[in-house]
């Protein structure tokens, strides 16, 4: 739940599209990264964003969270224009999103617990110290870290733990919108699968909308409701994976029907079969 910054009343904005990107153009020097890119993210979905290296997935995320000034176009987050605001201007959306950067981007001079407290202190300075500590501990546990990680410094954590700590910080304010930049890259398969599961559970329990950049086909099959494909400086397709498979764009076909794509498909099918059998078994046990 978030407070509306103007009226102060608690309101859950049930707009259909929390993120609306229209006609986005990003240029670096004379290299155009995005050309008239349009993307709408639906309320309550996990949107996977895929694309080859250098197609501007991270740039798109940075544009949406206001770190990258686009050359043209408009980006609305919860109906507030990001593109019209100054870089550090408070427009009432920063307390409603959480961002997990690729390397975690934890503040290196603070412990994990203090990292989680930073956004809380920033937006709600009147929270009591002991409550802050409780919230930090809870969020750290929620993100799947052991409790003793709370008072560790980022330098003492492994790459995977840093990502979890970054997730704990991103979830500190119970955001409605979560940005994840390659959350499972560099994690071992078990850790990656747990992270996927965690993301899915969070989405289901907290009703999050998730903007997820990934290269991980398992993640796409496992948890994404829709997938947006970046290529040719635009979003060339958005849809569920079966919908994407029905298109005949060569990159999409190669991406999902390559050897790795097929492996992920197969494992997904296996999962579903297993789920179906266990469901039918439990049905059999009914009196």
């Amino acid at each position: 739940m978030a407070r509306d910054p103007e009226t102060g009343e608690i309101a859950r904005f049930d707009r259909e599209f929390p993120i609306e990107v229209d006609g986005l153009v990003n240029r670096f020097g004379d290299q155009t990264v995005h050309d008239n890119l349009t993307l709408h993210v639906r309320q309550g979905e996990i949107l996977g964003v895929v694309g080859g290296s250098g197609t501007g997935k991270s740039v798109l995320m940075r544009s949406i969270i206001g770190l990258q000034r686009p050359a043209e176009g408009n980006i609305d987050v919860f109906g507030h224009s990001i593109t019209d605001a100054e870089p550090d201007e408070e427009i009432g959306v920063r307390s409603r999103w959480g961002v997990l950067f690729q390397g975690g981007a934890l503040f290196s001079t603070l412990t994990v617990g203090e990292n989680v407290q930073v956004p809380l202190k920033q937006f709600y300075p009147d929270i009591d110290r002991s409550l802050l500590a409780d919230i930090a501990r809870y969020k750290v546990l929620l993100s799947g870290l052991p409790e003793e990680a709370v008072n560790k410094y980022p330098a003492e954590l492994s790459g995977g733990m840093k990502k979890r700590a970054g997730l704990a910080r991103a979830l500190a304010l119970d955001p409605e919108l979560l940005f994840l930049d390659e959350p499972t890259a560099g994690l071992d398969p078990i850790g990656a699968a747990r992270f996927d599961q965690l993301t899915k559970e969070l989405k289901e329990t907290l009703g999050l909308t998730v903007f997820l950049i990934t290269h991980d086909l398992d993640t796409l099959y496992e948890i994404c409701d829709r997938v947006a494909v970046l290529a040719d400086k635009q979003v060339i397709a958005v849809g569920t994976i079966p919908e994407l498979l029905a298109t005949d764009h060569p990159w999409i076909q190669e991406y999902f029907n390559g050897p790795r794509g097929r492996a992920a498909q197969a494992s997904q099918a296996r999962e579903e079969r297993r789920a179906a059998t266990s469901r039918s078994r439990s049905m059999d046990k009914r009196p």
């Binding site: 940075r62 770190l67 550090d88 961002v99 950067f101 390397g103 981007a105 503040f107 290196s108 930073v118």
Partner: protein
Amino acid sequence: MSDGAEYRIETDAADGSDDNAGRLVLSGPYLVSTVGRTERELRKLDADISAVDLSEVDHIDTVGAWVACQIAARHDAEITGASEQAQRLLGAVETAGNEAEIRPERHPVWERVPEHVGDLMRQLFFGIIGVIGFLGQILVAAGAIIRHPSRFRAKAFVRQLELVGVSALPIVGLMSFLIGIVIAQQGAAQLQQFGAESLTVNLVGRITLRELGVLMTAIMVAGRSGSAFAAQIGTMKLTEEIDAMRTIGISPIEALVIPRILASTFMMVLLGFYASIMAIIGGAVVADVSLGIPFLTFLERVKDVVPTYDLWVGLIKAPVFGLIVGMAGCYNGMQVQGDSEQVGRRTTQAVVSAIFMVIVLDAFFAVFFTEIGWG
């Protein structure tokens, strides 16, 4: 047979054809370790060749296959006698051929020099604009903090005061003490020639309070803290910590830059004064030991011969120098983007530009204060 890659040309005169195109027979190992010299000769080969025969090649790798492919392509010849392994390698390198240079093309020097100069001018121009923009950001952030004092990061400020000031006390003190000794000792040696060694007091007292105390401290702080500012902030930029701050709604200028600049400005005054005092003590020690002026008498004399405005000159310059050192460090840190090499370059630049600006301004101050009668 030698262990290098060999070649020979066989002309099949026996079949009686008119063209004297020959077969190039390659033999020996065609590997990256052996092919170097042969390849240079093959490149210059000027004979007509209709076929490249690989049947006598006993080992081949991708480089050898590449060489064979190239020579075949150049002479429009076909490749014969390739073993199964050679066939596979040939197939692999054939598809990889292209003419792209592995480094960007180098322009001739008369184009490169003006281009480089132009590039430097452009950088200078954008650098000046960047500094002005940075100054504006700081003023805006300072204005915001004045309006909402609760946003001032007192904890970070105190921490920086400690890092810039308190922990610099030993090194700044020792340095100033030694400089005081050197000035007194060298000054006395010269003044003795006029029998004016008692003027050593004036020399040490005035030059340290007016110039050297603050100047040397500024240089030391630039090396100690200006570089640290640039490196810390630059690394935070690389690890996306600055971006993370922005997404949380924390202005990095308010949280990182303002406490550092304030700390260096404030601490510079105290450190500069402290350095002057240490230098005078150093001078007094030398005077006591080698000139026979008692320690306490030296200090008494300093009070008489040094005008108060000398102290003011030093104390007015100090915060300005501190501001420059802090700004140079933070500005260069915020400019880091891309890779870790930039952190090093920007750190160096922070120190160099800070020291340079401090000395330039010191010259202006010297003229200015003399003009207003504080000579």
